[in-house]
């Protein structure tokens, strides 16, 4: 392997979805990329001092400010007359994106900066021990939303980050999944070809936090999409332009793979609520494949 953009030897857990996602993103964007990273698992496992996995210029400053740091990098590249040849990526976890980094991210969007923001959505603050975030799904068991007699896990639904990004009127917003690597890379390539702020949110299973076997990472990611719980959607200039069509499978298929939902399996009431979330997505984004659309793989 000659020029690796994300080298092995990083200390991500076995089967980590985020390490896979990060490599797919940087390979799609290419060597002429500068990355600013929020604090989180990815930052920690890819840059264990004095080592680094990165084959591109990469900077970490704080938990919440990758979008602000990337904004400065973009401004400097414009000053140097080099912006047209260099992609700037700001990236972070779901906590760093939807909660603590939202202000910096909103500013980056609002200023119209030519940056791709990538959110690796493992649906909790994994690096500090699986605390719930604004992107933790309904009823998930985390250390700060424990399932028990008072609740059956996280009491709130996921924050609608793609819609929040769209509300800024930015040119490109998409969701992706490590269960569909080619689709993910196509979206990154498209995003970096568009001028202005872009947002891609990638579903990245976490074997430790979601409590599934490392070998199931791809399967868990795929099943989330196929159940309608993680719709793969694509917006240009806030208009929905494509979705991945599915033949919806029952949400239990997804829930039963993971320990974080284990408490639900004998609780049809709660499963019904989660099925309603999936049904809502299926209707809202028109996800269901029709008989005239046979070839699922070309849909997205």
């Amino acid at each position: 392997m000659n020029r690796q953009l994300f080298a092995p030897g990083h200390t991500a857990c076995v089967g980590c979805g985020q390490s896979l996602g990060a490599r797919l993103v940087i390979e799609a964007s290419g060597p002429n990329t500068i990355v600013a990273n929020n604090t989180g698992c990815l930052e920690v496992f890819s840059t264990k001092y004095p080592e680094s996995s990165w084959g591109v210029p990469w900077i970490h400053s704080l938990f919440e400010n990758a979008a602000a740091v990337a904004s400065g990098i973009e401004a400097a590249l414009i000053y140097l007359g080099k912006k047209d040849t260099v992609n700037v990526i700001a990236q972070g976890g779901d906590g760093g994106t939807a909660d603590i980094g939202l202000q910096a991210l909103s500013g980056m969007f609002e200023r119209g900066q030519d940056i791709l923001y990538v959110c690796y959505d493992n649906e909790a603050y994994m690096n500090t021990g699986i605390q719930r975030s604004g992107l933790t799904p309904f009823d998930a068991n985390t250390t700060t939303s424990p399932a028990g007699s008072a609740s059956s896990g996280n009491i709130r639904p996921k924050k609608p980050m793609p819609e929040i990004a769209n509300a800024h009127g930015i040119p490109y917003v998409a969701t992706a999944s490590v269960g569909f690597p080619q689709d993910l890379q196509r979206k990154v390539k498209k995003a970096v070809s568009i001028k202005g702020p872009k947002y891609i949110q990638i579903h990245v299973p976490c074997p430790l936090g979601w409590r599934h076997e490392p070998v199931q990472t791809a399967q868990v990611a795929k099943t989330a999409v196929e159940a309608g719980l993680y719709p793969l959607v694509e917006y240009e200039n806030t208009r929905l332009i494509a979705v991945r069509k599915i033949k919806p499978s029952p949400v239990e298929e997804y829930l039963k793979l993971q320990g974080r939902f284990k408490h639900l399996l004998n609780n049809p009431e709660e499963i019904k609520k989660i099925q309603e979330i999936a049904n809502h997505n299926i209707e809202k984004y028109n996800l269901r494949v029709t008989s005239s659309e046979k070839n699922l793989s070309t849909e997205c």
Partner: protein
């Protein structure tokens, strides 16, 4: 006050994560491979290489034994074998 801390690109290669494997490791059978590259594409370690059919292999210095390559292979041309067993 310390920093900025600067390090060289790709130096994580000093860290041989292959020692993490405890139970299983992938065996690339190199019989029915169609060179779809899905194994290389889904390897979280980026330690699988190959170009033509039946040429793919992984670098055991770094493979953590997650098994995603064997799971994803559409031809079942990668199997997970016990770590102690030689080929």
């Amino acid at each position: 006050m310390f920093g900025p801390l600067n390090v060289k690109p790709g130096t994580s290669r000093n860290n041989k994560t292959g020692s993490w494997r405890t139970e299983l490791r992938p065996k690339f059978l190199q019989k029915d491979c169609i060179a779809c590259k899905m194994c290389a594409l889904t390897c979280p370690e980026d330690c699988i290489e190959g170009a033509q059919k039946n040429t793919f292999y992984c670098d055991y210095e770094f493979c953590k034994g997650c098994g995603l390559c064997a799971f994803i292979c559409p031809k079942a041309d990668i199997t997970m074998i016990e770590e102690e067993l030689k080929e």
